[in-house]
């Protein structure tokens, strides 16, 4: 607030009083709204294009001369119908959901306990354990997927969604632990001391005092993990072979692209449907997202 007030006062001082209102209005339009409009247009256009392609009949899709490509004259559900009834798409959605929920649950439990131990049970070397877990976040999956593939084969988990549920926590746990350490820090230590004096055990303190107060952090960590597991690609591509067990991103790329003629309608419909769950999930929890993203960076 004070910033804009101050800016307005500077504009006041510079411009003659009668031209000022018009000048600052135009200036604002050119400097803020126009670039913002361009950004939003460019950032959203691929989604618009994805959505509009999924409802276009093939005749319109490949004929720009007679049909305006930016609009649909006769929308159709034929691509979505093809996807849902002629392919294993529902199965892929189900697998993806299962993997995402499984990996999220596993990483939430593991990272809550770890964050609690590091931040609240304070032992010698706890900062180093925290640092080690944080460093694990900097190891990108592209370096790990080849040796991990052999590990997965050794465990007899190749081609099984369980492999993904066990492997995804490698990038989820560091992030969630980091986020939750930050949340636990913000809870007053005195609350736990009171409970300790009253004779509560440490597990009771965790369950009845710390966790209820850390619910926003748990939600942030949960939705973040869910989105990241839903979007994961390289492990799912490397560890899953049979068509039925694939996750949505992998299946669209490997099962829907057949031959040289691409079924753009079906491909875009598949992308749209595959994006919708995370998009809906995201729209419900926008504030948690933004706070966890920014909180994680600031920590």
């Amino acid at each position: 607030m004070t910033d804009t007030v101050a800016q307005a006062s500077v504009a006041n001082a510079k411009a003659a009083p009668d031209t000022m209102a018009w000048d600052s209005g135009l200036r604002r339009l050119m400097m803020i709204y126009l670039p913002l409009g361009c950004f939003v247009l460019i950032l959203l256009f691929p989604f618009y294009w994805m959505a509009i392609t999924s409802f276009k009949p093939n005749a319109e899709l490949l004929n720009y001369r007679e049909h305006n490509p930016f609009w649909i004259t006769s929308p159709t559900l034929v691509h979505i119908k093809h996807l849902l009834f002629d392919t294993a798409y529902p199965r892929w959605l189900w697998t993806t959901m299962l993997v995402a929920i499984g990996a999220t649950t596993l990483s939430l439990v593991a990272s809550t306990l770890a964050a609690y131990a590091i931040e609240r049970l304070r032992f010698r070397g706890s900062p180093y354990v925290g640092l080690g877990i944080y460093l694990a976040y900097l190891v990108p999956p592209s370096i790990l997927f080849i040796p991990l593939a052999t590990v997965v084969v050794q465990f007899g988990l190749f081609d099984s969604p369980l492999a993904l549920i066990l492997v995804y926590p490698t990038f989820l746990v560091p992030f969630c632990t980091w986020l939750l350490i930050g949340y636990f820090k913000s809870i007053p230590y005195e609350l736990e001391e009171c409970a300790l004096v009253d004779g509560a055990t440490r597990l009771q303190i965790l369950r009845r005092i710390t966790l209820p107060l850390a619910v926003p952090g748990l939600i942030s960590a949960g939705i973040f993990s869910f989105t990241l597991s839903w979007n994961e690609f390289i492990y799912a591509l490397a560890f899953i072979q049979s068509g039925a067990n694939k996750t949505v991103p992998v299946a669209i790329l490997t099962e829907l692209i057949t031959g040289d003629v691409y079924q753009w309608g079906a491909l875009m419909a598949g992308s749209l449907l595959g994006s919708l769950p995370v998009a809906i999930f995201y729209s419900l929890f926008v504030d948690y997202y933004v706070s966890s993203l920014t909180g994680a960076v600031k920590e």
Binding site: M1, I42, M50, A110, L121, I146, T170, V173, G274
Partner: protein, 318 residues
């Protein structure tokens, strides 16, 4: 309040059984709490990392345990033009994409830091490209870059009449390289913008007021207040961005799979092609391991290069 209600039931059971006492024994509890996280990370992160480095020195293939062959894989890579090509493109890709993401992302963050209606809605919309699975938005870009039915070509040729022929986005090496970089920038802007916006909001307005009283122009305010104050957060976000751009896989694999004529291979896609698709685990692992020095260098460079200003100031002031 909740604390007082808690005390009465626990006081009645003064003598808990041994299991409860065991779980209240601090060293035991610490081990139990850390076990799941450390266990998962050790088995699926640390062990594979070591195994990957070992594999890079063997001639393992899928289904056959390899023999130790020393630096042979790396020696072979040094003579392999495809590997050099991938190194070259990885560096170009990371360099241009990071620059683009940070220039545009910083600009967007500055724009979003103004006051206007529907600000939170706009902030939510802006993050969408980052939320949606990369492969799925990459498919949308693939369709946008279609040689025949590209909407960009349509705009330029049929609507604006700036060109007479369609652009061949993915058919020849350099256009394909830049098309991928553009898609990467598109996906990276939201993350950079929202993280930097958080940093911008922590800068105290009184600094700007003081600068304005001293007669600083808006460029001077940006150069001498906003930019230095943003340095620490820029360093962190840039480190992350560089690491994950350099090791990017999904975008390239989804749109070009390394083509045309292997010109858009990143190290990660080359490692996948050789290691998993081609079955040469040892060679693939060697390519993956060859990313590590670049990553360490890039991390140190971006972190210390950008954070330097901060500790130099600290030294001078103390």
């Amino acid at each position: 309040m909740s604390v007082t209600t808690l005390s009465s039931p626990t006081l009645t059971q003064r003598q808990p059984n041994w299991l409860v006492r065991l779980f209240d024994y601090k060293p035991f509890l610490i081990v139990m709490c850390l076990a799941p996280a450390i266990g998962l990370l050790a088995v699926f992160l640390t062990y594979p990392l070591g195994l990957g480095i070992w594999l890079a020195f063997t001639d393992a293939t899928i289904g056959r345990r390899g023999q130790f062959i020393g630096f042979e894989n790396f020696q072979y890579l040094l003579t392999d033009p495809l590997w050099w090509n991938a190194v070259f493109y990885s560096v170009v890709y990371t360099g241009i994409a990071t620059f683009g993401k940070f220039a545009l992302g910083f600009w967007l963050a500055l724009l979003l830091n103004n006051h206007f209606p529907f600000k939170s809605l706009l902030r939510a919309i802006v993050l969408l490209p980052w939320i949606v699975p990369t492969v799925l938005s990459a498919l949308a870009f693939w369709w946008i870059y279609d040689p025949q039915f590209s909407i960009i070509s349509y705009l330029l040729v049929d609507v604006l009449h700036w060109r007479t022929s369609n652009i061949d986005f993915l058919g020849s090496p350099w256009p394909a390289r830049f098309s991928l970089i553009a898609a990467n920038i598109w996906r990276g802007i939201p993350f950079v913008a929202i993280s930097l916006l958080a940093g911008l909001q922590t800068i105290s307005p009184s600094l700007y007021e003081a600068a304005m009283l001293d007669g600083a122009s808006s460029w001077q305010r940006f150069r001498y207040i906003t930019f230095p104050m943003m340095m620490p957060i820029l360093a962190i976000v840039m480190t992350f961005s560089i690491i994950f751009t350099f090791t990017d896989f999904q975008l390239v694999y989804a749109i070009t799979r390394g083509g045309p004529v292997n010109s858009t291979h990143l190290l990660a896609t080359l490692a996948f092609q050789r290691g998993i698709a081609g079955g040469e685990l040892g060679e693939g692992a060697a390519i993956a391991v060859s990313m590590i020095p670049f990553l360490v260098f890039a991390t140190l460079f971006s972190y210390f290069g950008l954070a330097r200003r901060k500790w130099q100031q600290g030294e001078a002031n103390d």
